[in-house]
């Protein structure tokens, strides 16, 4: 049982890494009071997913998926890359929107600390 676990842990490390990075991002989103740090956490979270996608696209010994005449090379799967490219665009847009929101919040309240914001909102109504 336990001896099966080690190879499992070792060979599937990409999953664990993705999960660990994801958790780091999630931690930042939950625990940090600074809104910018929350966005950074969100980005880390998203990055973990990108890495996960990229890692599943990998084919051992595969090369870049560019068709070469006559070659019988093993390609890595290109589709996840394309998908992730789109996902990255989405993530960038999200970050942009989030940052612009933070800037406007800062202009409105003069703070980007969530605790201060909650105190202010509680005070004003």
């Amino acid at each position: 049982m336990i001896e099966d676990l080690f190879p499992l842990l070792l060979t599937r490390y990409n999953y664990y890494m993705a999960v660990i990075i994801m958790m780091i991002g999630l931690y930042a989103m939950i625990a940090k009071s600074n809104l910018v740090k929350k966005i950074i956490g969100l980005n880390i979270f998203q990055t973990a997913i990108f890495l996960f996608y990229i890692s599943i696209a990998d084919v051992r010994g595969g090369t870049a998926p560019i068709l070469i005449e006559g070659s019988n090379a093993l390609y890595v799967n290109p589709v996840p890359h394309v998908l992730i490219l789109t996902a990255i665009v989405v993530s960038v847009s999200t970050t942009a929107v989030a940052l612009s929101l933070v800037i406007r919040i800062h202009r409105e309240y003069r703070t980007v600390e969530e605790e201060d914001l909650m105190r202010m909102e509680g005070g004003s109504g």
């Binding site: 870049a64 560019i66 490219l85 665009v89 960038v92 942009a96 940052l99 612009s100 800037i103 202009r107």
Partner: protein, 143 residues
């Protein structure tokens, strides 16, 4: 903004290359890794670098906000226009090969794809720039 000769000079030297590279990435979207999204972002980063080095007012003088709006719309119109053109020629949306050009179907496909990539690149560039300018202008305006 404080004058800094080194930064300005380096930027002045870098920006054309960045833009050139962006164009390269955009135009090779159909046949290799790259495309409108990536190229557009790179192009926008050139503007952003320019803003950082020369200040926002300079950029706004050279590239008015309305130009950005026009460019982003133009990009989308190119994309949608080609799509609808394909429909008009009886294929599906973005069914490029239906467009009757005096070249082979594969080449038509590639050519049209380039146009679409250019459109996407324009839009992405304009939107990225406008987001950045939006954020920095208003902050500057009030401070």
């Amino acid at each position: 903004m404080r004058e800094d000769v080194v930064i300005r000079t380096v930027c002045r030297a870098m920006i054309p290359f960045i833009q050139l590279f962006a164009l390269y990435v955009i135009l090779h979207g159909s046949s290799s890794a790259g495309g409108g999204f990536q190229g557009g972002v790179i192009f926008a980063s050139a503007f952003i670098l320019y803003v950082i080095a020369f200040g926002i007012m300079e950029v706004r003088r050279r590239m008015h906000e309305k130009v950005v709006v026009a460019l982003s719309s133009l990009g989308l119109y190119i994309y949608a226009g080609i799509g609808i053109l394909c429909i008009l020629f009886g294929a599906g949306f973005l069914g490029y090969s239906a467009i009757p050009l005096p070249v082979s179907a594969a080449e038509t496909r590639g050519l049209m794809m380039e146009f679409v990539e250019i459109g996407i690149g324009l839009t992405v560039m304009a939107v990225m720039t406008s987001i950045f300018m939006d954020i920095s202008v208003k902050e500057g305006g009030e401070d």
